[in-house]
């Protein structure tokens, strides 16, 4: 995966030691998820499952949980997110990062944290409010201008962004209806696991997938097309325009 995760915890009634411990536990959990799901690790349960060397029943229960979420995401996204369409076997990569971060945030919440963000390589799960009040303000990286943000969104719970960025086109269209793929797609909503999957879906499916996500309750999308035009659903709350100078 190659993800760097950042934990941001706002000051609270908890002691520094307690917060450190909670973050350490959350980190450990995410490492464990990586050990289970990483398709880069040849001996991970996910890799064994993909090679048919391990059955779902014998695998860690998290795998079944994640695959069930993938099935739901496929259905909700009209097939634009499809973990089972990849060569090499089932691959929950487009959802598991968000799922893992969301669980890590849950662990912080269980430890008594009331205001925090877990940022897993740009997929962000949020809890409570920042100390400055209001909602979390998340800058969306401009897809082709690395020196600017495309916009700033106000986020309650979760935000995920998928797109080309510097590495060029790397997204596969599972249905084979490759239209003009957007440069970047951002999805906000209550669950980071689904926001992650839907952002992937919109990055692949463009306007059509965007319309599907727009019709989902409590999920919103923001799209930057390859030609630079933008579109956002009603619930997307833009703070301000591009921050370039």
């Amino acid at each position: 995966m190659g993800t760097v995760v950042t934990f941001h915890v706002e000051a609270s009634h908890l002691s520094e030691a307690n917060v450190r411990e909670a973050i350490a536990e959350a980190s450990k959990m995410m490492h464990r998820h990586d050990d289970i799901f990483s398709t880069w690790k040849q001996e991970s349960p996910m890799s064994l499952l993909r090679r048919g060397e391990l059955s779902l029943d014998d695998a860690p229960s998290e795998i079944a949980e994640v695959l069930a979420l993938c099935a739901e995401a496929r259905s909700l996204s009209g097939g634009w997110f499809d973990a089972s369409s990849m060569p090499g076997g089932i691959d929950p990569t487009g959802l598991v990062k968000g799922w893992s971060a969301e669980n890590a945030l849950g662990l912080l919440k269980d430890a008594g944290v009331t205001s925090a963000m877990v940022n897993a390589g740009g997929d962000i799960a949020c809890l409570g409010s920042p100390s400055t009040g209001g909602r979390w303000k998340i800058g969306i990286r401009h897809p082709w201008r690395a020196d600017a943000l495309a916009c700033v969104l106000e986020v309650n719970d979760a935000v995920a962004t998928s797109g080309e960025y510097e590495r060029g086109r790397h997204l596969i269209d599972p249905i084979g209806r490759l239209g003009r793929q957007p440069a970047a797609a951002t999805v906000t909503g209550p669950s980071l696991a689904f926001a992650d999957a839907f952002a992937t879906a919109v990055a692949v499916g463009g306007d059509e997938a965007f319309a599907i996500v727009a019709s989902l309750d409590r999920y919103d999308a923001y799209l930057i097309r390859a030609d630079g035009s933008e579109e956002s659903t009603e619930g997307i709350c833009l703070v301000n325009a591009s921050a370039d100078k």
């Binding site: 190659g2 995760v5 990569t93 800058g139 969306i140 690395a146 510097e166 992650d196 692949v204």
Partner: protein, 177 residues
């Protein structure tokens, strides 16, 4: 106990509260963001991990002299400008799939005023080319984000992550709030 409250997104995980961990794993050149849907192939590279806690402590002080009369060497005072002093620290070196880099961060008062990449080593010339282009742009992005007052940034890229991690670790060393 207080954590970062300022506008700067990348320092959001404040001094002492950073759990920056790298879930790095082996992979080929096609190892991109976790949204990757292309088949994986190619040679595997050794897995790298990023330490899960930030390194505490301040910038190292010069060694004291040995032998002869005991003297204490001290860091010469930094000339102040406009009543505020600048401090610089180099963040930890971070690995990313194609190389490693560290970022030196200069803080003046409550603002990040300087960023420079030190110790960049890339595994191949292609990565060096990308790094040559991307890293100057990242520096502008880091400085621009500071003025926008965001809590976080969504859409970070692979190369950016190592950069961000090093900046973060440098800020932690500076106890930047």
């Amino acid at each position: 106990m207080t954590v970062k409250r300022g506008p700067f997104a990348l320092a959001a995980a404040a001094a002492g509260f950073v759990g920056a961990l790298g879930l790095h794993a082996s992979g080929s050149v096609t190892a991109l963001t976790p949204k990757l849907s292309t088949p994986r192939s190619g040679p595997s590279t050794p897995a790298t991990t990023i330490p899960s806690t930030s390194k505490g402590g301040s910038n190292s002080t010069p060694p004291t002299s040995k032998g002869g009369p005991t003297t204490t060497t001290h860091v010469p005072p930094v000339k102040k400008a406009k009543g505020t002093s600048s401090r610089s620290v180099t963040g930890s070196t971070y690995n990313y799939s194609y190389g490693q880099l560290a970022v030196r961060v200069t803080v003046t008062g409550a603002k990040i005023t300087g960023l420079s990449v030190v110790g960049l080593q890339t595994a191949e010339s292609y990565s060096q080319q990308i790094a040559d282009q991307v890293i100057p742009m990242l520096r502008q992005e880091v400085l621009a984000a500071q003025s926008v007052r965001v809590n976080g940034i969504s859409g970070a890229s692979y190369t950016a992550e190592a950069y961000v991690s090093s900046v973060q670790s440098a800020l932690n060393k500076l106890h930047f709030k």
